[in-house]
Amino acid sequence: MQKINKERRTLLKGSAMAIALGMTGIAQLLTAPQAFAAWPKDAFAGRSVDEVMAALFDEKVVPVDSGDIFLKAPDIAENGAVVPISVESSLPNIKRIIILVEDNPTPMVASFILGEGAKADVSTRIKMGKTSNVVALIESEGNVYAARKNVKVTIGGCGG
């Protein structure tokens, strides 16, 4: 009898350990995607263009306006929930294309990290809370270039 009880103890202890291990495993799984992907949380949480810029770039970077960035966006967006945006550029060695909407609650919209040999030609559809400048930032050979376009929004798309 005593022996059985002892076995039961170890068994319980073992399963408790297994559960504990399982739990940490799940916790790791839950946090893993973001940690692994290094999604720039601070940049996406920034509430102003300055905050976003500070989170995106290490040093204080002042983007240079460039005529080599072709930012396509409608002049007037009837529906702020769906605004088609595309960015093309002929600048050399582009690492990253960032899209910001200056007057959105959180200006950071998207960031395209170009792999080897990729062409700077991206399109997406974004939400705009109200009429604002859309900014395309391009990181090329250590410099940051920018292009802006004002988009008039008749119905906002950020809820509230």
């Binding site: 799984l29 839950l30 893993a32 995607p33 973001q34 992907a37 999604w39 720039p40 996406f44 929930a81 769906v82 605004v83 088609p84 595309s86 909407v101 959105n104 609650p105 959180t106 950071m108 919209v109 998207a110 960031s111 395209f112 990290i113 170009l114 792999g115 080897e116 040999g117 990729a118 062409k119 700077a120 030609d121 991206v122 399109s123 997406t124 559809r125 974004i126 939400k127 705009m128 798309g157 950020c158 809820g159 509230g160």
Partner: protein, 102 residues
């Protein structure tokens, strides 16, 4: 909730990849009828891979429209190659599909 549509087409030295993903893209700012905030639920990252190599990473925030449309142009691939496109959202869910370049 599930669903990625993707088309890849060779155009000269590049491959144009167009994708449409089914996702609510909740901003976390909207409120339901009772005035309770709807929690944020949006894609954070789209990855385009081929043969284990990452060709393009797209980081998205909540300001992307519902059921996001994304098009990118990648290099080094041609007709017949297989690409893998997938997304991960802020709740840790993910989905990916293979697409053959036409």
């Amino acid at each position: 909730m599930a669903g990625i549509k993707a088309k890849a087409k060779q155009k000269g030295d590049f491959v144009e990849l167009k994708t449409l993903m089914k996702h609510p893209m909740e901003t976390g700012l909207r409120k339901d009828k009772k005035g309770v905030k709807i929690p944020a639920h949006h894609i954070t990252e789209i990855t385009v891979k081929s043969a284990g190599k990452v060709l393009m990473t797209v980081e998205y925030g909540p300001a992307i429209s519902k059921n996001p449309y994304t098009s990118v142009v990648i290099g080094g691939k041609k007709t017949g190659d297989t690409l893998n496109v997938g997304w991960v959202d802020n709740t840790g869910k993910s989905e990916n599909i293979d697409v053959v370049v036409k």
